[in-house]
């Protein structure tokens, strides 16, 4: 088990390495990212039952009808 300063060094080295890596990744503009999120939402909105609700015939929670079990 390393002593405190050596352990501190190692952890700092690790975090510096990680930061170097993260600083180097490629990013896109928020405007583009936001536009894509918006497009995805709008395109899928009609498929979203919690957003749109469902027609009564498909609604699994419509008032129960009687049904025979056999």
């Amino acid at each position: 088990m390393s002593n405190n300063s050596a352990g501190g060094m190692m952890s700092l080295q690790k975090s510096v390495k990680q930061l170097r890596f993260e600083a180097g990744i490629r990013r896109i503009k928020v405007s583009q990212a936001a536009a894509d999120l918006k497009t995805f939402c709008l395109q899928n909105a009609h498929k979203d039952p919690l957003l749109m609700g469902v027609p009564s015939s498909d609604n699994p929670f419509r008032p129960p009808k009687s049904c025979a079990l056999f």
């Binding site: 190692m10 600083a23 990744i25 928020v30 894509d36 995805f40 957003l51």
Partner: protein, 505 residues
């Protein structure tokens, strides 16, 4: 295209967890549980499997420049951090809600009670949605799978529907195969898969039944092979307990996101173990993370009373969902199918529904009588289920709300985990709900015993009605456990994993 570091063993410090933070969390857990002696968070008498593996890896060191001193490293660290902020800020040309201005606002989110069902009498700990659509049976005590000496904090349902995984304060994640034979002692068939050095906070099967991803109070996440119990990959980088994780939707690749007590959310590469992105804008523990349906973003819920949206391609936080009136932490978040709505369960007993794009609150749902500890949207998107310390599960949707009151079996509740099983190809709107009668559980129409409850098989076009006494020989598409359909299960603090079936009403 990310510039990736060549995959190589990482230099490891055996205890990445800040002892103070971890102890605080452990103390909090202890206080909540009122358990006299809790496991010591950082020490074990014999090194568990994971630590041995880690120590081996540490032996293969990587570059340590001789000229590195503590000061130069610290300076470089600071410089890099500001550079990261600068780079992110450069691309911050607009706010998400500005982009969303022109979109129509959402109408009122209406909820109606269709039925109130009486259930058992205890706090809900964890719950898993049914795979196909339907059921989650709640079993009586003697049918439950018992995990000795542990509080169940995490649970997950295998994609095939043939197994469930759960774990908690036992520091392990165990997999229980689900069986058709009701006489089989399931607890005996349990397989211990994951071993951490602190509590298990979350678990999740990857795309198959064969691998499990876990996160733990020991500050790490790990990927395990179910069959051999071997750790395939470990993920280090959090400075404190990891509280939650979520796998990216399968189309978007092999990553997952984790959130922890260090206020950081990290995105990881499953294959290399590398943390590819991290986000540190929350002001307190991150209790829940969930990917946006497209996989390009994720949301987080935190004790700082906010939920936030982080875009992975812009590499920054793009929205904060908060209100001055909301001062309690968010324990659990999930998106609706299109990603337009974000549901957040909070410790002030409410569920807030947010318009993801506009950043505004669409609705606030009351009804729970204690903190909402877990929340999941069903695989087909028709409803979401919230579990709470008030012993109930509530399934809510656009036109209905069904409340199952009083779940039995639990003495105390620490946390509830809700695991949604992947929906099959027949995913549709046939989600149901009802509690089948069992000891301590009443159905609104009748009280039924578990066995006769089993006997009614609800077809997709029928609603529940009274049970018949004949066994049906229709096709069993799901595994049965003690005669109950196991499309989901929930776990509780009474140290058992329970299987709970909801039938459509």
């Amino acid at each position: 295209m990310l510039k990736r570091a060549r995959a190589r063993p990482r230099a490891l410090v055996p205890h990445d967890v800040t002892p103070a933070a971890s102890s605080i969390r452990a103390l909090r857990l202890q206080a909540l549980l009122r358990v006299p002696a809790l496991l010591s968070p950082t020490k074990h008498s014999s090194p568990p499997r994971t630590l041995c593996f880690l120590v081996e890896m540490a032996a293969q060191e990587v570059d340590a420049q001789p000229s590195d001193t503590l000061t130069t490293l610290k300076t470089e660290s600071e410089t890099l951090k500001s550079k990261l902020e600068e780079e992110r800020a450069k691309l911050h040309d607009v706010e998400l809600h500005q982009v969303a201005e022109k979109i129509e606002a959402l109408g009122q989110f209406v909820m109606k009670t269709r039925r109130t069902l009486k259930g058992h009498g205890n706090k809900v700990l964890c719950m898993d949605w049914c795979k196909d659509k339907r059921r989650i049976v709640s079993s009586s005590q003697e049918h439950a799978v018992t995990m000795p000496c542990t509080w169940v904090m995490a649970c997950a349902y295998a994609p095939s529907g043939c197994a469930v995984a759960c774990g908690g304060l036992d520091n392990k994640c165990s997999v229980y195969p689900l069986s058709l034979d009701k006489n089989e002692n399931l607890a005996a068939k349990k397989k211990s898969v994951a071993m951490h050095t602190n509590y298990l906070s979350a678990c999740c099967f990857t795309n198959s039944d064969m691998q499990i991803l876990t996160s733990s109070g020991d500050g790490t996440c790990a990927l395990w092979d179910v069959e051999s119990g071997q750790m395939l990959q470990s993920f280090h980088g959090h400075a404190a307990d990891v509280l939650c994780l979520d796998l990216a939707p399968s189309e978007t690749g092999n990553t997952f996101v984790s959130g922890g007590c260090d206020k950081k959310a990290c995105v990881w590469d499953l294959r290399t173990g590398q943390c590819v992105q991290s986000f540190e804008t929350h002001e307190s523990d991150i209790n829940s993370v969930r990917y946006y349906p497209s996989g390009d973003a994720f949301a987080s819920g935190s004790d700082d009373a906010t939920c936030r949206l982080y875009d992975l391609r812009a590499d920054r936080e793009v929205a904060i969902y908060s209100k001055e009136s909301i001062i309690f932490g968010a324990s659990s978040v999930d998106f609706s199918l299109s990603g337009r709505l974000l549901f957040g369960g909070y410790n002030d007993y409410t569920i807030n529904v947010w318009d993801v794009l506009k950043g505004t609150r669409v609705s606030i749902l009351f009804g729970h009588e204690n903190r909402v500890s877990t929340l999941r949207v069903s695989p087909d998107g028709t409803a979401f289920c919230s579990g709470s310390w008030d012993h109930t599960l509530r399934v809510s949707g656009k036109h209905f709300l069904i409340q199952c009151k009083r779940i039995k079996h639990c003495d105390e509740s620490l946390s509830v985990c809700l695991s949604v099983s992947r929906s099959g190809p027949e995913c549709c709107l046939n989600l149901f709900l009802t509690f089948i009668g069992a000891a301590g559980i009443e159905e609104t129409a009748d009280s039924n015993s578990v066995l006769s409850a089993v006997e009614y098989m609800i077809r997709t076009d029928c609603s529940a009605s009274t049970s018949s006494s004949n066994r049906h020989s229709h096709s069993v598409r799901r595994a049965w456990y003690y005669g109950m359909a196991l499309d989901g299960f929930y776990g509780s603090n009474s140290r058992s994993v329970l299987v709970c079936v909801y039938e459509r009403v």
